[in-house]
């Protein structure tokens, strides 16, 4: 938890009792936050391990099927539920489909979903939060109450409701999860923007006659990028998890769609028959990928918050799904 202390240079006056001014005072950076974060990333063992696991699993899911050809389409009743053995290193499932191959196909949808939701959530949240923070006043208040409303209801609950309304496919789930999870990022970014607004370089830009749009694009967005990346990694982990939980509850997309959660659910029904190979492989990769993304997020977060106010750090310990309504950041 040792946050690298930055030299507290002449602390800028934090006007108007803003509780959001950076704690360590102004920072004299020679590199942008993003560069610093990247550099930090290369030095963090946790982040590197996490990234390594993610890359390996992505290779496994997307390149694996090119090397390891299996039948993932037709039901082969002769070999259903067969234990690991030659030809089927991880056995077969109740339809006689190779579990190792299934793991790859299922992982594709889990990973696609994670990355799509992570990126979309971050983009929308970044924009919304930045606009809200820059606008201030009644616009800000209104925009934030919308965010509060969505955050007041557990995302998972909303997800279940909306999911039960539509016939689901991967793209619809991506849309739903994005719509439900951007408010968290928006809220966080707004807090950052409020703090940045009082910083000297932004005030200098304003004095020089820069328009709000210019400040937004040139100062706010680049300086909140680090925080955004952190929330993106958490969003990825959370959405993979959410999809698996949804499938687990039997409200996920119908077959032939498959993801690790679906595999796990199907396997659990057979766990009591002793078909352990249908449960543990998806369970292990699911835990592995979620832990890996959270490790990256956690490590990045330490890096980012090391030279920034620790708003995020206070929050992050307590995020499971993007569910909680954060206090005034």
């Amino acid at each position: 938890m040792a946050a690298p202390e930055t030299a507290p240079a002449a602390a800028g006056p934090s006007p108007g009792g803003s509780a959001l001014a950076p704690e360590g005072g102004e920072i004299t950076a020679t590199a942008t936050d993003t560069q610093l974060s990247l550099r930090g990333l290369l030095h963090s063992k946790r982040a590197l391990t996490g990234t390594g696991i993610v890359v390996l699993l992505a290779l496994f899911c997307f390149v694996g099927p090119l090397l390891y050809h299996t039948n993932q389409v037709t039901v082969v009743l002769g070999i259903e539920n067969s234990p690991p053995g030659p030809g089927h290193p991880l056995g077969t499932d109740q339809y006689g489909i190779d579990v190792l191959g299934r793991l790859m196909t299922g992982g594709q949808s889990s990973l696609e979903l994670g990355f799509a939701v992570g990126i979309a959530t971050t983009l929308i949240g970044l924009l919304y939060g930045a606009v809200s923070g820059m606008a201030g006043g009644i616009v800000d208040a209104l925009m934030m109450r919308i965010v509060d409303t969505v955050l007041a209801v557990p995302t998972f609950i909303l997800l279940i409701i909306v999911a039960s309304m539509f016939s689901l496919s991967l793209s619809i789930i991506i849309v739903i999860l994005t719509v439900l999870s951007w408010p968290y990022t928006a809220r966080l970014i707004r807090g950052q923007v409020l703090a940045l607004r009082e910083r000297e370089f932004v005030q200098a830009a304003r004095t020089m006659g820069a328009s709000s749009r210019w400040i937004l694009a040139r100062h706010m967005v680049p300086n909140t990028l680090g925080v955004s990346v952190v929330t993106a990694t958490f969003a990825i982990a959370d959405s993979i998890y959410a999809l698996s939980a949804l499938s687990f509850l039997g409200i996920g997309p119908p077959p032939p769609f498959t993801d690790w959660g679906t595999m796990l659910t199907d396997g659990v029904n057979n766990l009591f028959n002793g078909y352990w190979w249908q449960v543990y492989p998806p369970l292990i990769v699911l835990v592995l990928i979620v832990v890996a993304f959270r490790q990256v997020g956690d490590a990045l977060n330490d890096i980012v918050s090391g030279h920034r106010s620790n708003v995020l750090r206070r929050r992050r310990r307590f995020r499971l799904l993007p569910l909680s309504a954060p206090r005034d950041a």
Binding site: P154, G250, V291, L320
Partner: protein, 318 residues
């Protein structure tokens, strides 16, 4: 302080109104029409028209919203399509059971999480801390249902120590406790997730506390480390836990949906899950409204408790 409270309460009211709008809109987003859901697909257009005018469904949306809000304040949350019972009474039956389940598991989580967090802070960056942090992190990251399934596989299937699910007949609080062995696993599973959060949070606040001058003073005057930890660190790290309790309410509720559906616990979560499978929207949205309001109130209560318990905190006009 009063000013802060008024502002905070105002915000909460705004959010509650927002949640009402949200549930109302979701109710209307439902594919098909309410009449079709209730009367069935074979209903004649005439019957649909009668149903619509009976429930005011042919009126403009804002008028319908007015009716919806009025009904909510009269305690009417609609009628379940599936069970043909008022949603309010369905929820009222189940809320006390959830209070027991969530209360017990949160209490257990605090009893384990707080001491572990302090212990980890005291052993900061040593092996014990790393091991605990690592295992909490894995548990925290693992899906809720994984822990439930592993426990079932181990304790119910392998060793037959505990029942895997509640018997369907349990429908009273007394029944819950009479079947206490069935209560063990849901409580355990729900608390595992919270423990991870609590302990890591307490660990970081305790670390902050340990760096304070008053700790140095306490040590300098020769206070045994045990007393330093219990008297000074514990007290000062307990406070932020209140906020965390308020904030974790949605997480706990979401966890409850999964745990209750696994263990057949007759609470809101199970009701919610069954309604989702049956497309029973009034029940889901009634439940959502209650959960939303509970979250808002929980956060408000946490803020108030926080400021009342710590004399140092004075909310200014930020």
């Amino acid at each position: 302080m009063t000013q802060y409270l008024i502002r905070r309460a105002g915000q909460s009211v705004a959010v509650v109104i927002g949640v009402m709008i949200l549930t109302f809109l979701l109710l209307h987003l439902e594919p098909g029409s309410v009449a079709r859901s209730v009367l069935g697909l074979k209903a004649t257009p005439a019957r649909v028209a009668i149903f619509d005018s009976l429930y005011g469904l042919n009126k403009p949306l804002y008028v319908q919203f007015g009716i919806y809000v009025k009904q909510i304040f009269q305690g009417n949350l609609g009628v379940s399509y599936q069970l043909q019972q008022p949603v309010a009474s369905l929820i009222a039956q189940r809320l006390p059971r959830d209070a027991i389940l969530l209360g017990l598991s949160t209490l257990l989580a605090l009893m384990i999480g707080v001491p572990t967090g302090i212990y980890q802070a005291a052993r900061h960056n040593r092996l014990a801390d790393d091991l605990l942090a690592g295992s909490w992190f894995t548990l925290y990251s693992a899906p809720d249902f994984m822990e439930a399934l592993l426990l079932i596989a181990l304790l119910c299937v392998q060793f037959h120590v505990l029942p895997a699910a509640f018997p369907g007949s349990v429908n009273s609080i007394g029944g819950l406790f009479a079947d206490w062995p069935a209560l063990v696993l849901p409580v355990a599973v729900l608390s595992v997730n919270s423990v991870a959060g609590f302990s890591q949070y307490v660990r970081s606040t305790a670390l902050q506390a340990l760096a304070e001058d008053y700790i140095r003073v306490a040590r300098a005057k020769g206070l045994p480390e045990r007393l330093v930890l219990t008297r000074h660190v514990l007290r000062n790290s307990l406070l932020p836990v209140i906020t965390i309790l308020g904030l974790s309410l949605p997480d706990i509720v979401a966890g409850a949906v999964i745990a209750e559906s696994i263990f057949n616990f007759p609470g809101m979560g199970l009701l919610f899950w069954q309604s989702a499978l049956a497309h029973d929207f009034p029940v889901m949205l009634g439940g959502t409204l209650i959960i939303g309001v509970a979250t808002v109130l929980g956060n408000l209560a946490a803020d108030i408790a926080y400021s009342t318990l710590d004399p140092r905190i004075r909310y200014g006009g930020t």
